[in-house]
């Protein structure tokens, strides 16, 4: 069975878990902490960024682009309407624009600070830096304004159909939500969208994630929050 090497709140791994679950592919999860740079891990992934996907009869598939495109090319069903990447050229481009926005811009300006301050620092018993968290929350607010703008006019992030862009956004916001840093009441359109995507069967495994000593927010696993 395929195996995904990741840590529980890793956004890129959450995106891949959502894709595989949506496509009905079974796989196992192995927990690693890339920031500890263990030899066992660096052997697969010298970038120490992860995630890594292990599939029978193939060398390790390493990193976000490699795994996402491997899944789209080898795992996704062919039937129209079941694709997380739509078929039309313009819709594909719009989906990928928002994929990049979520996985790189939102991740770079918000999610990674919450992870660094609240998750990674626990390993060295260091305290989170309140100034960094303040900046991350402020950046997050700007992003939520833009997603609100999109979701006021669209049912899903890239248009009428759910796409990989929705999973990309959910992979980021679900992590921030775990830390109780999502200002849901100030972004009702985003909250409405998140309630819909959170109710999908593909989401269940993510909502069961718990980290010892770092409890999830009270709403993290609630479908009606």
């Amino acid at each position: 069975m395929p195996q995904l090497l990741q840590y529980k709140l890793q956004p890129a791994a959450r995106l891949i878990r959502l894709m595989l679950a949506e496509y009905g592919t079974r796989f196992t999860l192995t927990e690693v902490k890339p920031w500890q740079r263990q030899d066992e891990w660096l052997k697969y992934d010298p970038s120490a960024e992860g995630p890594v996907f292990l599939v029978d009869n193939l060398p390790p598939i390493v990193g976000l682009s490699a795994i996402v495109l491997y899944i789209e090319e080898n795992v996704a069903p062919d039937e129209q309407g079941k694709l997380l990447v739509p078929l039309g050229t313009a819709q594909r481009a719009e989906t990928r624009r928002l994929f990049d926005w979520c996985m790189f811009k939102l991740a770079d300006e918000a999610t990674r600070y919450f992870l660094a301050e609240k998750l990674v620092k626990r390993d060295t018993s260091a305290a989170p830096d309140p100034a960094v968290l303040r900046a991350a929350r402020s950046n997050l607010g700007e992003h939520l304004n833009y997603f609100t703008y999109l979701l006021t006019a669209r049912r899903w992030l890239a248009g009428d159909a759910m796409t990989i862009a929705d999973f990309a956004l959910a992979s980021q916001l679900s992590v921030i939500d775990y830390f109780a840093d999502m200002p849901w009441e100030s972004a009702p359109e985003v909250k409405d969208w998140y309630q819909r995507i959170k109710s999908r069967p593909a989401f269940r495994a993510l909502l069961a994630d718990r980290i010892v000593g770092l409890p999830a927010s009270s709403v993290y696993a609630e479908l009606d929050f």
Copy 2:
């Protein structure tokens, strides 16, 4: 004719320029500075990251993933051997692993600091921060060690054939080289690889780029340096 909106030393745009030139597609360049957040530009790309590719009869194609995959799906020739993304599953994954490494990790840890300190700060007449440049050069050294390791065993970055991963690395190093920050003498395997890729016809237009008031390094356009 397709039009690419970008600025001259933008690594993502250089990658796309190399791809289009390699595939023999004609296009025009329009210079924009996304960091100035002009309305004309934000209309196309609210992320203000760019680049943007304008093609007849399609909405603007925005951002790295959207443009690269648009080109692979719609512009690239079908014949084996002319593809920048190889056909085998394992080779595709390896190419994309190194694509991500260059376009995100190397960009994030080195190239963007050179651009911010040496290019963007000129607009406000601010002076580069020597501490930031020192850190960027140190990070660059670590990356060059890894590329040296790969290029000692391989002719091209991802294996025996040139791929989009080589263009990704060249898009980053050519920018750093413009600023005279490439320690070529300490990375002879990387230098040898760069001499080979720099000699390709697709590279010519990049070597003609000049920014007023910011001269290129003495070796920037030299094929034998």
